[in-house]
Protein backbone atom coordinates (compact mmCIF):
# COMPACT_ATOMS: atom_id res chain seq x y z
CA UNK A 1 0.00 0.00 0.00
CA UNK A 2 2.77 2.38 0.98
CA UNK A 3 4.67 1.37 -2.09
CA UNK A 4 1.64 1.96 -4.24
CA UNK A 5 0.97 5.42 -2.89
CA UNK A 6 4.64 6.33 -3.06
CA UNK A 7 5.13 5.16 -6.61
CA UNK A 8 3.50 8.15 -8.23
CA UNK A 9 5.31 10.87 -6.28
CA UNK A 10 8.60 9.06 -6.70
CA UNK A 11 8.23 8.78 -10.45
CA UNK A 12 6.96 12.34 -10.75
CA UNK A 13 9.77 13.68 -8.64
CA UNK A 14 12.41 11.95 -10.70
CA UNK A 15 10.94 12.94 -14.03
CA UNK A 16 10.34 16.51 -12.91
CA UNK A 17 13.97 16.49 -11.84
CA UNK A 18 14.94 15.79 -15.43
CA UNK A 19 13.22 18.97 -16.52
CA UNK A 20 14.88 20.88 -13.71
CA UNK A 21 18.25 19.58 -14.77
CA UNK A 22 17.60 20.69 -18.31
CA UNK A 23 16.70 24.14 -17.07
CA UNK A 24 19.87 24.34 -15.02
CA UNK A 25 22.38 22.82 -17.34
CA UNK A 26 23.20 25.86 -19.44
CA UNK A 27 23.45 27.85 -16.26
CA UNK A 28 25.84 25.34 -14.78
CA UNK A 29 28.05 25.77 -17.77
CA UNK A 30 28.29 29.56 -17.81
CA UNK A 31 28.13 29.87 -14.06
CA UNK A 32 30.42 27.07 -13.08
CA UNK A 33 32.87 27.23 -15.89
CA UNK A 34 32.87 30.81 -17.07
CA UNK A 35 32.16 32.16 -13.55
CA UNK A 36 29.39 34.30 -14.98
CA UNK A 37 26.20 34.87 -13.03
CA UNK A 38 23.71 34.99 -15.86
CA UNK A 39 20.62 36.57 -14.37
CA UNK A 40 18.98 36.44 -17.80
CA UNK A 41 19.14 32.66 -18.08
CA UNK A 42 15.46 32.20 -17.24
CA UNK A 43 14.38 34.92 -19.62
CA UNK A 44 16.47 33.56 -22.45
CA UNK A 45 14.83 30.22 -21.78
CA UNK A 46 11.39 31.80 -22.04
CA UNK A 47 12.54 33.63 -25.16
CA UNK A 48 13.04 30.21 -26.69
CA UNK A 49 9.54 29.23 -25.64
CA UNK A 50 8.22 32.30 -27.42
CA UNK A 51 10.33 31.61 -30.51
CA UNK A 52 8.89 28.14 -30.64
CA UNK A 53 5.45 29.59 -30.14
CA UNK A 54 5.99 32.01 -33.00
CA UNK A 55 7.09 29.19 -35.28
CA UNK A 56 4.18 26.93 -34.39
CA UNK A 57 1.83 29.80 -35.06
CA UNK A 58 3.26 30.74 -38.42
CA UNK A 59 4.41 27.39 -39.80
CA UNK A 60 2.02 25.12 -37.96
CA UNK A 61 4.85 22.83 -36.89
CA UNK A 62 4.57 20.48 -33.97
CA UNK A 63 6.18 22.30 -31.04
CA UNK A 64 8.63 19.47 -30.47
CA UNK A 65 9.92 19.84 -34.01
CA UNK A 66 10.56 23.54 -33.57
CA UNK A 67 13.60 22.55 -31.53
CA UNK A 68 15.38 22.10 -34.83
CA UNK A 69 14.88 25.77 -35.63
CA UNK A 70 14.98 27.27 -32.17
CA UNK A 71 18.31 25.80 -31.05
CA UNK A 72 20.42 27.27 -33.85
CA UNK A 73 18.72 30.64 -33.43
CA UNK A 74 19.47 30.58 -29.73
CA UNK A 75 23.04 29.59 -30.43
CA UNK A 76 23.47 32.81 -32.35
CA UNK A 77 21.64 34.79 -29.70
CA UNK A 78 24.04 33.45 -27.08
CA UNK A 79 27.04 33.93 -29.31
CA UNK A 80 26.12 37.52 -30.02
CA UNK A 81 25.27 38.24 -26.41
CA UNK A 82 28.69 37.08 -25.30
CA UNK A 83 30.56 38.52 -28.23
CA UNK A 84 29.03 41.98 -28.24
CA UNK A 85 28.53 42.57 -24.54
CA UNK A 86 30.07 40.21 -22.06
CA UNK A 87 33.42 39.77 -23.77
CA UNK A 88 34.04 43.45 -23.35
CA UNK A 89 34.20 43.06 -19.62
CA UNK A 90 36.38 39.99 -19.33
CA UNK A 91 38.69 40.27 -16.36
CA UNK A 92 36.83 43.22 -14.90
CA UNK A 93 35.37 41.37 -11.94
CA UNK A 94 32.23 39.32 -11.54
CA UNK A 95 29.82 42.11 -10.70
CA UNK A 96 29.80 44.14 -13.89
CA UNK A 97 28.81 41.24 -16.15
CA UNK A 98 26.17 40.35 -13.62
CA UNK A 99 24.62 43.78 -14.02
CA UNK A 100 24.72 43.42 -17.79
CA UNK A 101 22.84 40.15 -17.63
CA UNK A 102 20.36 41.80 -15.35
CA UNK A 103 19.92 44.54 -17.94
CA UNK A 104 19.34 41.91 -20.60
CA UNK A 105 16.81 40.26 -18.34
CA UNK A 106 14.61 43.32 -18.01
CA UNK A 107 15.02 44.22 -21.65
CA UNK A 108 13.90 40.74 -22.65
CA UNK A 109 10.94 40.65 -20.29
CA UNK A 110 9.65 43.97 -21.46
CA UNK A 111 10.29 43.31 -25.13
CA UNK A 112 8.44 40.03 -24.90
CA UNK A 113 5.59 41.88 -23.26
CA UNK A 114 5.55 44.45 -26.01
CA UNK A 115 5.69 41.88 -28.80
CA UNK A 116 3.58 39.06 -27.46
CA UNK A 117 1.28 40.97 -25.03
CA UNK A 118 0.78 39.80 -21.45
CA UNK A 119 -1.42 36.92 -22.58
CA UNK A 120 -0.81 33.39 -21.43
CA UNK A 121 0.87 31.16 -24.01
CA UNK A 122 1.41 27.47 -24.24
CA UNK A 123 2.94 25.16 -26.80
CA UNK A 124 0.00 22.89 -27.22
CA UNK A 125 0.38 19.47 -28.72
CA UNK A 126 -1.38 16.18 -28.16
CA UNK A 127 1.71 15.03 -26.25
CA UNK A 128 0.73 17.30 -23.41
CA UNK A 129 -2.36 15.35 -22.48
CA UNK A 130 -1.18 11.80 -23.08
CA UNK A 131 0.14 9.46 -20.50
CA UNK A 132 1.55 6.01 -20.39
CA UNK A 133 -0.70 4.44 -17.82
CA UNK A 134 0.96 1.62 -16.00
CA UNK A 135 -1.29 0.71 -13.11
CA UNK A 136 -4.18 2.22 -11.21
CA UNK A 137 -1.76 3.93 -8.92
CA UNK A 138 0.76 5.06 -11.39
CA UNK A 139 0.54 6.89 -14.64
CA UNK A 140 3.35 8.63 -16.36
CA UNK A 141 2.67 11.68 -18.48
CA UNK A 142 4.39 11.36 -21.85
CA UNK A 143 5.63 14.93 -21.73
CA UNK A 144 7.42 14.23 -18.46
CA UNK A 145 9.17 11.30 -20.07
CA UNK A 146 10.18 13.44 -23.01
CA UNK A 147 11.53 16.06 -20.60
CA UNK A 148 13.54 13.51 -18.69
CA UNK A 149 15.09 11.79 -21.65
CA UNK A 150 15.88 15.05 -23.34
CA UNK A 151 17.74 16.05 -20.18
CA UNK A 152 19.74 12.83 -20.13
CA UNK A 153 20.55 13.20 -23.79
CA UNK A 154 21.69 16.81 -23.49
CA UNK A 155 23.77 16.04 -20.43
CA UNK A 156 25.55 13.16 -22.12
CA UNK A 157 26.37 15.21 -25.17
CA UNK A 158 27.46 18.24 -23.22
CA UNK A 159 29.58 16.20 -20.87
CA UNK A 160 31.30 14.58 -23.81
CA UNK A 161 31.81 17.95 -25.41
CA UNK A 162 33.35 19.56 -22.37
CA UNK A 163 35.48 16.65 -21.29
CA UNK A 164 36.58 15.06 -24.52
CA UNK A 165 36.80 17.67 -27.23
CA UNK A 166 39.33 20.40 -27.81
CA UNK A 167 36.85 23.27 -27.75
CA UNK A 168 35.32 21.86 -24.59
CA UNK A 169 38.62 21.68 -22.80
CA UNK A 170 39.53 25.07 -24.16
CA UNK A 171 36.44 26.59 -22.55
CA UNK A 172 37.50 25.24 -19.19
CA UNK A 173 41.11 26.26 -19.65
CA UNK A 174 40.13 29.78 -20.65
CA UNK A 175 38.08 30.22 -17.53
CA UNK A 176 40.92 28.92 -15.35
CA UNK A 177 43.54 31.33 -16.64
CA UNK A 178 42.69 33.42 -19.65
CA UNK A 179 46.17 34.70 -20.41
CA UNK A 180 47.81 31.32 -20.29
CA UNK A 181 44.97 29.94 -22.40
CA UNK A 182 45.90 32.45 -25.06
CA UNK A 183 49.41 31.06 -24.95
CA UNK A 184 47.99 27.67 -25.85
CA UNK A 185 46.55 29.15 -29.03
CA UNK A 186 43.04 29.53 -27.71
CA UNK A 187 41.05 32.48 -28.96
CA UNK A 188 39.34 33.02 -25.66
CA UNK A 189 36.77 35.55 -26.78
CA UNK A 190 35.62 33.25 -29.52
CA UNK A 191 35.60 30.21 -27.30
CA UNK A 192 33.54 32.07 -24.69
CA UNK A 193 31.08 33.11 -27.34
CA UNK A 194 30.78 29.55 -28.51
CA UNK A 195 30.30 28.38 -24.94
CA UNK A 196 27.53 30.87 -24.38
CA UNK A 197 25.99 29.81 -27.66
CA UNK A 198 25.99 26.21 -26.57
CA UNK A 199 24.57 27.08 -23.16
CA UNK A 200 21.78 28.87 -24.98
CA UNK A 201 21.16 25.82 -27.15
CA UNK A 202 20.45 23.84 -24.01
CA UNK A 203 18.27 26.69 -22.78
CA UNK A 204 16.43 26.50 -26.10
CA UNK A 205 15.64 22.85 -25.64
CA UNK A 206 14.60 23.53 -22.06
CA UNK A 207 12.49 26.45 -23.23
CA UNK A 208 10.57 24.41 -25.77
CA UNK A 209 9.91 21.65 -23.26
CA UNK A 210 8.94 24.06 -20.50
CA UNK A 211 6.56 25.69 -22.95
CA UNK A 212 5.02 22.31 -23.72
CA UNK A 213 4.73 21.39 -20.05
CA UNK A 214 3.60 24.68 -18.56
CA UNK A 215 2.03 27.96 -19.61
CA UNK A 216 4.30 30.91 -19.96
CA UNK A 217 4.18 34.69 -19.87
CA UNK A 218 6.77 37.37 -20.57
CA UNK A 219 7.75 37.33 -16.89
CA UNK A 220 7.92 33.61 -16.24
CA UNK A 221 11.69 33.52 -16.65
CA UNK A 222 12.54 34.52 -13.09
CA UNK A 223 11.05 31.40 -11.55
CA UNK A 224 13.16 29.22 -13.82
CA UNK A 225 16.22 31.22 -12.86
CA UNK A 226 15.74 30.13 -9.25
CA UNK A 227 15.34 26.52 -10.28
CA UNK A 228 18.45 26.76 -12.40
CA UNK A 229 20.43 28.22 -9.52
CA UNK A 230 19.23 25.49 -7.20
CA UNK A 231 20.22 22.76 -9.60
CA UNK A 232 23.64 24.24 -10.22
CA UNK A 233 24.38 24.71 -6.56
CA UNK A 234 23.32 21.23 -5.49
CA UNK A 235 25.11 19.60 -8.37
CA UNK A 236 28.31 21.51 -7.92
CA UNK A 237 29.23 24.32 -10.25
CA UNK A 238 30.31 23.24 -13.63
CA UNK A 239 29.55 19.59 -12.98
CA UNK A 240 27.34 18.71 -15.90
CA UNK A 241 26.52 15.22 -14.67
CA UNK A 242 25.86 16.70 -11.24
CA UNK A 243 23.01 18.78 -12.61
CA UNK A 244 20.96 15.68 -13.39
CA UNK A 245 21.40 14.27 -9.91
CA UNK A 246 20.71 17.71 -8.48
CA UNK A 247 17.58 18.13 -10.59
CA UNK A 248 16.28 14.79 -9.41
CA UNK A 249 17.06 15.61 -5.78
CA UNK A 250 15.25 18.91 -6.08
CA UNK A 251 12.30 17.35 -7.89
CA UNK A 252 12.03 14.53 -5.38
CA UNK A 253 12.37 16.89 -2.42
CA UNK A 254 9.50 18.96 -3.71
CA UNK A 255 7.17 16.16 -4.69
CA UNK A 256 7.88 13.98 -1.68
CA UNK A 257 7.74 17.02 0.59
CA UNK A 258 4.26 17.68 -0.74
CA UNK A 259 3.33 14.03 -0.37
CA UNK A 260 4.39 13.67 3.25
CA UNK A 261 3.99 17.12 4.74
CA UNK A 262 1.26 18.64 2.62
CA UNK A 263 1.38 20.76 -0.47
CA UNK A 264 2.30 23.89 1.40
CA UNK A 265 5.64 22.24 2.05
CA UNK A 266 6.40 21.71 -1.62
CA UNK A 267 8.64 24.67 -2.37
CA UNK A 268 9.83 24.91 1.20
CA UNK A 269 11.05 21.32 1.32
CA UNK A 270 12.87 21.90 -1.95
CA UNK A 271 14.58 24.95 -0.50
CA UNK A 272 15.37 23.26 2.76
CA UNK A 273 16.95 20.29 1.04
CA UNK A 274 18.91 22.78 -1.01
CA UNK A 275 20.19 24.66 2.00
CA UNK A 276 20.91 21.47 3.88
CA UNK A 277 22.92 20.16 0.96
CA UNK A 278 24.85 23.39 0.87
CA UNK A 279 25.61 23.34 4.54
CA UNK A 280 26.74 19.74 4.42
CA UNK A 281 28.58 19.98 1.14
CA UNK A 282 29.35 23.65 0.57
CA UNK A 283 30.91 22.93 -2.79
CA UNK A 284 27.92 21.01 -4.14
CA UNK A 285 27.62 17.28 -4.65
CA UNK A 286 30.11 16.92 -7.43
CA UNK A 287 32.04 20.12 -7.00
CA UNK A 288 35.50 20.48 -5.63
CA UNK A 289 36.99 23.48 -3.91
Amino acid sequence: MVVQSLAQPLVNGILLGGLYALIGIGMSMVFGIMKLTNLAHGDLLILSSYLSFGITQSLGLNPLLTVILVTPVMFFVGYAFQNLLLNRMLGKGAESPMLVTFGISIILQNSLLAIFSPDARALTSNLASQSVIITNYLSIPVIYLVDFFAACFVILILNFFLKKTYPGRAIRAASDDGNVAKLMGINIKRIYSIAMGIAMMTAAIAGVLVGMTYNFYPYTGTQYLIIAFGVVVIGGMGSIGGTLVAGVILGLAQVLGAHFFGTEMQLLSGYIVLLAMLVLRPQGLFGHN
Partner: protein, 317 residues
Amino acid sequence: MLKRLTSNRSIKYSALGLLVLVLLTVPLWGTQYLVMLFLLISLYVAFAQMWNLLAGYAGLISLGQQIFIGLGGYTLAVLTEYYGLTIWQSILMGGLISGVVAAFLAFLLFRMKGVYFTIASWITAEIMVVVFSNWAYVRQGMGIFIRSAYKLSTNDIYYAALALGISSVILVQIILRSKLGLGLMAMRDNEGAAETMGVEIFKSKLYCFIISAVVTGFTGGVLYLSQAFIQPTAAFSISWTVAVIFIVIIGGIGTVVGPIVGAVIYVLLQQFLSQYVGIGMLILGVMAITVILIAPKGIMGTLQQKLRFEIFSSRRI
Protein backbone atom coordinates in the same frame (compact mmCIF):
# COMPACT_ATOMS: atom_id res chain seq x y z
CA MET B 1 53.22 69.72 0.11
CA LEU B 2 51.86 69.14 3.57
CA LYS B 3 50.21 72.53 3.50
CA ARG B 4 48.50 71.80 0.23
CA LEU B 5 47.25 68.56 1.62
CA THR B 6 45.75 70.19 4.67
CA SER B 7 44.13 73.00 2.70
CA ASN B 8 42.76 70.40 0.32
CA ARG B 9 41.40 68.66 3.32
CA SER B 10 39.75 71.69 4.79
CA ILE B 11 38.13 72.45 1.45
CA LYS B 12 36.86 68.91 1.38
CA TYR B 13 35.44 69.06 4.87
CA SER B 14 33.79 72.42 4.40
CA ALA B 15 32.22 71.15 1.20
CA LEU B 16 30.92 68.12 3.01
CA GLY B 17 29.64 70.29 5.85
CA LEU B 18 27.82 72.50 3.40
CA LEU B 19 26.30 69.46 1.75
CA VAL B 20 24.99 68.16 5.07
CA LEU B 21 23.55 71.59 5.84
CA VAL B 22 21.78 71.67 2.48
CA LEU B 23 20.40 68.22 3.10
CA LEU B 24 19.18 69.16 6.56
CA THR B 25 17.26 72.13 5.26
CA VAL B 26 15.57 70.51 2.27
CA PRO B 27 12.12 70.58 3.90
CA LEU B 28 12.51 74.31 4.46
CA TRP B 29 13.13 75.28 0.88
CA GLY B 30 12.14 72.27 -1.21
CA THR B 31 8.77 70.96 -2.33
CA GLN B 32 7.34 67.89 -0.68
CA TYR B 33 8.23 65.94 -3.76
CA LEU B 34 11.84 66.99 -3.49
CA VAL B 35 11.78 65.89 0.14
CA MET B 36 10.50 62.52 -0.97
CA LEU B 37 13.25 62.22 -3.55
CA PHE B 38 15.92 62.97 -0.97
CA LEU B 39 14.18 60.57 1.38
CA LEU B 40 14.41 57.75 -1.12
CA ILE B 41 17.97 58.63 -2.03
CA SER B 42 19.02 58.63 1.64
CA LEU B 43 17.47 55.25 2.22
CA TYR B 44 19.02 53.73 -0.86
CA VAL B 45 22.36 55.21 0.15
CA ALA B 46 22.13 53.47 3.51
CA PHE B 47 21.09 50.20 1.92
CA ALA B 48 23.71 50.43 -0.80
CA GLN B 49 26.51 51.30 1.63
CA MET B 50 25.73 48.14 3.52
CA TRP B 51 25.63 45.96 0.43
CA ASN B 52 28.83 47.53 -0.74
CA LEU B 53 30.43 46.86 2.63
CA LEU B 54 29.61 43.20 2.14
CA ALA B 55 30.30 42.81 -1.56
CA GLY B 56 32.85 45.48 -2.29
CA TYR B 57 34.99 45.11 0.80
CA ALA B 58 34.29 41.76 2.43
CA GLY B 59 33.78 39.86 -0.83
CA LEU B 60 30.40 38.57 0.32
CA ILE B 61 28.14 39.03 -2.68
CA SER B 62 24.74 38.62 -1.15
CA LEU B 63 21.50 38.29 -3.07
CA GLY B 64 19.61 38.03 0.20
CA GLN B 65 19.78 41.48 1.79
CA GLN B 66 16.04 41.82 1.19
CA ILE B 67 15.68 39.53 4.20
CA PHE B 68 16.57 42.44 6.44
CA ILE B 69 14.49 44.98 4.55
CA GLY B 70 11.55 42.64 5.06
CA LEU B 71 12.36 41.96 8.69
CA GLY B 72 12.70 45.67 9.41
CA GLY B 73 9.38 46.34 7.71
CA TYR B 74 7.57 43.46 9.34
CA THR B 75 8.86 44.29 12.81
CA LEU B 76 7.58 47.79 12.34
CA ALA B 77 4.21 46.51 11.16
CA VAL B 78 3.79 43.90 13.88
CA LEU B 79 4.99 46.00 16.80
CA THR B 80 2.97 49.07 15.90
CA GLU B 81 -0.17 47.24 14.79
CA TYR B 82 -0.31 44.49 17.42
CA TYR B 83 1.48 45.88 20.43
CA GLY B 84 1.06 49.61 20.05
CA LEU B 85 4.76 50.35 20.29
CA THR B 86 5.86 53.69 18.90
CA ILE B 87 7.17 53.83 15.39
CA TRP B 88 10.72 54.63 16.42
CA GLN B 89 10.85 51.90 19.03
CA SER B 90 9.66 49.45 16.43
CA ILE B 91 12.23 50.49 13.87
CA LEU B 92 14.95 50.12 16.46
CA MET B 93 13.68 46.65 17.25
CA GLY B 94 13.60 45.85 13.54
CA GLY B 95 17.31 46.55 13.30
CA LEU B 96 18.06 44.47 16.36
CA ILE B 97 16.00 41.53 15.15
CA SER B 98 17.73 41.73 11.79
CA GLY B 99 21.05 41.57 13.59
CA VAL B 100 20.03 38.52 15.58
CA VAL B 101 18.70 36.76 12.51
CA ALA B 102 21.89 37.62 10.65
CA ALA B 103 23.98 36.13 13.44
CA PHE B 104 21.98 32.95 13.20
CA LEU B 105 22.08 32.80 9.40
CA ALA B 106 25.81 33.39 9.43
CA PHE B 107 26.37 29.96 10.91
CA LEU B 108 24.62 28.43 7.93
CA LEU B 109 25.71 30.72 5.15
CA PHE B 110 29.35 31.18 5.99
CA ARG B 111 30.04 27.54 5.40
CA MET B 112 29.69 28.43 1.76
CA LYS B 113 32.10 30.43 -0.29
CA GLY B 114 31.84 32.63 -3.35
CA VAL B 115 28.84 32.07 -5.56
CA TYR B 116 27.56 29.33 -3.30
CA PHE B 117 27.13 31.95 -0.62
CA THR B 118 25.45 34.21 -3.16
CA ILE B 119 22.88 31.64 -4.16
CA ALA B 120 22.31 30.38 -0.63
CA SER B 121 21.56 33.89 0.52
CA TRP B 122 18.95 34.26 -2.18
CA ILE B 123 17.41 30.90 -1.36
CA THR B 124 17.20 31.96 2.28
CA ALA B 125 15.29 35.04 1.25
CA GLU B 126 12.92 32.88 -0.78
CA ILE B 127 12.39 30.73 2.29
CA MET B 128 11.41 33.88 4.14
CA VAL B 129 8.75 34.55 1.50
CA VAL B 130 7.33 31.07 1.94
CA VAL B 131 7.48 31.23 5.73
CA PHE B 132 5.88 34.66 5.99
CA SER B 133 3.24 33.68 3.42
CA ASN B 134 2.23 30.76 5.62
CA TRP B 135 2.57 32.43 8.99
CA ALA B 136 -0.84 33.31 10.41
CA TYR B 137 0.72 35.65 12.99
CA VAL B 138 1.79 38.07 10.27
CA ARG B 139 -1.51 37.53 8.40
CA GLN B 140 0.11 35.30 5.81
CA GLY B 141 0.11 36.51 2.23
CA MET B 142 -2.50 39.15 2.97
CA GLY B 143 -0.04 41.53 4.40
CA ILE B 144 -0.34 44.19 7.08
CA PHE B 145 -1.25 47.84 6.77
CA ILE B 146 1.00 49.99 8.90
CA ARG B 147 -1.72 52.35 9.93
CA SER B 148 0.27 54.32 12.45
CA ALA B 149 2.40 55.58 9.58
CA TYR B 150 -0.63 57.23 7.95
CA LYS B 151 -0.29 60.11 10.36
CA LEU B 152 3.40 60.73 9.83
CA SER B 153 4.57 63.65 7.74
CA THR B 154 7.04 63.18 4.91
CA ASN B 155 9.43 65.48 6.73
CA ASP B 156 9.58 63.24 9.80
CA ILE B 157 10.39 60.25 7.67
CA TYR B 158 12.88 62.28 5.71
CA TYR B 159 14.91 63.15 8.79
CA ALA B 160 14.96 59.54 9.88
CA ALA B 161 16.12 58.53 6.41
CA LEU B 162 18.72 61.26 6.25
CA ALA B 163 20.12 60.31 9.64
CA LEU B 164 20.36 56.74 8.42
CA GLY B 165 21.97 57.70 5.13
CA ILE B 166 24.60 59.95 6.65
CA SER B 167 25.42 57.62 9.51
CA SER B 168 25.77 54.70 7.12
CA VAL B 169 28.44 56.58 5.20
CA ILE B 170 30.25 57.52 8.38
CA LEU B 171 29.92 54.00 9.73
CA VAL B 172 31.39 52.45 6.60
CA GLN B 173 34.21 54.94 6.64
CA ILE B 174 34.97 54.12 10.27
CA ILE B 175 34.87 50.40 9.61
CA LEU B 176 37.15 50.66 6.61
CA ARG B 177 39.69 52.60 8.58
CA SER B 178 39.55 50.12 11.42
CA LYS B 179 41.30 46.85 11.99
CA LEU B 180 38.13 45.07 10.89
CA GLY B 181 38.09 46.89 7.56
CA LEU B 182 41.69 46.06 6.79
CA GLY B 183 41.01 42.43 7.58
CA LEU B 184 37.94 42.41 5.36
CA MET B 185 39.80 43.77 2.38
CA ALA B 186 42.59 41.28 2.86
CA MET B 187 40.08 38.48 3.11
CA ARG B 188 38.33 39.57 -0.07
CA ASP B 189 41.56 39.27 -2.01
CA ASN B 190 42.80 36.01 -0.53
CA GLU B 191 41.06 34.29 2.29
CA GLY B 192 43.72 31.66 2.94
CA ALA B 193 46.58 34.11 3.13
CA ALA B 194 44.57 36.45 5.32
CA GLU B 195 43.86 33.64 7.70
CA THR B 196 47.49 32.67 8.13
CA MET B 197 48.25 36.31 8.74
CA GLY B 198 46.03 36.37 11.77
CA VAL B 199 42.72 37.58 10.33
CA GLU B 200 39.84 35.80 12.03
CA ILE B 201 37.81 35.02 8.95
CA PHE B 202 34.59 33.90 10.54
CA LYS B 203 34.49 36.67 13.12
CA SER B 204 35.29 39.40 10.62
CA LYS B 205 32.62 38.20 8.23
CA LEU B 206 30.18 37.82 11.09
CA TYR B 207 30.65 41.36 12.39
CA CYS B 208 30.37 42.74 8.90
CA PHE B 209 27.26 40.72 8.14
CA ILE B 210 25.59 41.69 11.40
CA ILE B 211 26.39 45.37 11.04
CA SER B 212 25.03 45.45 7.55
CA ALA B 213 21.95 43.51 8.63
CA VAL B 214 21.21 45.92 11.47
CA VAL B 215 21.51 49.00 9.29
CA THR B 216 19.55 47.35 6.48
CA GLY B 217 16.90 46.44 9.07
CA PHE B 218 16.61 50.09 10.07
CA THR B 219 16.41 51.00 6.42
CA GLY B 220 13.61 48.50 5.93
CA GLY B 221 11.72 50.02 8.82
CA VAL B 222 11.97 53.56 7.50
CA LEU B 223 11.21 52.41 3.95
CA TYR B 224 8.02 50.80 5.14
CA LEU B 225 7.06 53.94 7.01
CA SER B 226 6.71 55.59 3.67
CA GLN B 227 5.10 52.51 2.13
CA ALA B 228 2.61 51.94 4.94
CA PHE B 229 1.63 48.51 3.62
CA ILE B 230 3.69 45.36 3.73
CA GLN B 231 3.20 41.89 2.29
CA PRO B 232 5.66 39.01 1.98
CA THR B 233 6.43 38.74 -1.72
CA ALA B 234 7.22 42.42 -2.01
CA ALA B 235 8.97 42.72 1.33
CA PHE B 236 11.35 39.84 0.67
CA SER B 237 11.57 40.43 -3.05
CA ILE B 238 14.88 40.02 -4.83
CA SER B 239 14.09 43.30 -6.55
CA TRP B 240 15.35 45.18 -3.47
CA THR B 241 18.74 43.65 -3.81
CA VAL B 242 18.71 43.94 -7.57
CA ALA B 243 18.11 47.66 -7.16
CA VAL B 244 20.98 47.93 -4.74
CA ILE B 245 23.26 45.96 -7.03
CA PHE B 246 22.36 48.35 -9.81
CA ILE B 247 23.18 51.27 -7.54
CA VAL B 248 26.50 49.95 -6.28
CA ILE B 249 27.80 48.68 -9.59
CA ILE B 250 26.74 51.71 -11.59
CA GLY B 251 28.19 53.95 -8.90
CA GLY B 252 31.36 51.94 -8.45
CA ILE B 253 31.77 48.89 -6.26
CA GLY B 254 34.39 49.07 -3.55
CA THR B 255 34.21 52.86 -3.29
CA VAL B 256 32.39 54.85 -0.65
CA VAL B 257 31.10 57.56 -2.96
CA GLY B 258 29.94 55.08 -5.60
CA PRO B 259 26.81 53.97 -3.77
CA ILE B 260 25.85 57.59 -3.20
CA VAL B 261 26.21 58.48 -6.86
CA GLY B 262 24.43 55.26 -7.80
CA ALA B 263 21.55 55.94 -5.45
CA VAL B 264 21.02 59.43 -6.85
CA ILE B 265 21.03 58.08 -10.39
CA TYR B 266 18.78 55.17 -9.58
CA VAL B 267 16.14 57.15 -7.74
CA LEU B 268 16.04 59.96 -10.29
CA LEU B 269 15.94 57.49 -13.15
CA GLN B 270 13.14 55.50 -11.57
CA GLN B 271 11.10 58.62 -11.01
CA PHE B 272 11.80 59.98 -14.43
CA LEU B 273 11.06 56.72 -16.21
CA SER B 274 7.78 56.06 -14.44
CA GLN B 275 6.08 58.36 -16.93
CA TYR B 276 7.11 56.18 -19.85
CA VAL B 277 4.54 53.52 -19.21
CA GLY B 278 5.60 50.15 -20.54
CA ILE B 279 9.08 51.11 -21.68
CA GLY B 280 10.44 52.59 -18.48
CA MET B 281 11.99 49.35 -17.38
CA LEU B 282 13.28 48.72 -20.86
CA ILE B 283 15.16 51.99 -20.77
CA LEU B 284 16.53 51.14 -17.33
CA GLY B 285 17.96 47.92 -18.71
CA VAL B 286 19.56 49.68 -21.65
CA MET B 287 20.99 52.32 -19.31
CA ALA B 288 22.52 49.71 -17.05
CA ILE B 289 24.29 48.05 -19.95
CA THR B 290 25.44 51.29 -21.52
CA VAL B 291 26.93 52.67 -18.33
CA ILE B 292 28.79 49.45 -17.64
CA LEU B 293 30.13 49.30 -21.17
CA ILE B 294 31.43 52.85 -20.91
CA ALA B 295 32.64 52.63 -17.32
CA PRO B 296 33.23 48.99 -16.45
CA LYS B 297 34.23 49.81 -12.88
CA GLY B 298 31.21 51.98 -12.31
CA ILE B 299 31.14 55.74 -12.48
CA MET B 300 33.23 56.48 -9.39
CA GLY B 301 35.53 53.50 -9.87
CA THR B 302 36.37 54.59 -13.39
CA LEU B 303 36.66 58.25 -12.44
CA GLN B 304 38.99 57.43 -9.58
CA GLN B 305 41.11 55.37 -11.86
CA LYS B 306 41.31 58.19 -14.39
CA LEU B 307 41.75 61.07 -11.96
CA ARG B 308 43.60 59.19 -9.22
CA PHE B 309 41.51 60.88 -6.60
CA GLU B 310 39.22 59.49 -3.95
CA ILE B 311 36.83 61.58 -1.91
CA PHE B 312 36.52 59.08 0.91
CA SER B 313 39.63 57.03 0.77
CA SER B 314 40.25 53.99 2.87
CA ARG B 315 43.87 53.85 1.70
CA ARG B 316 46.54 53.83 4.36
CA ILE B 317 49.55 55.99 3.68
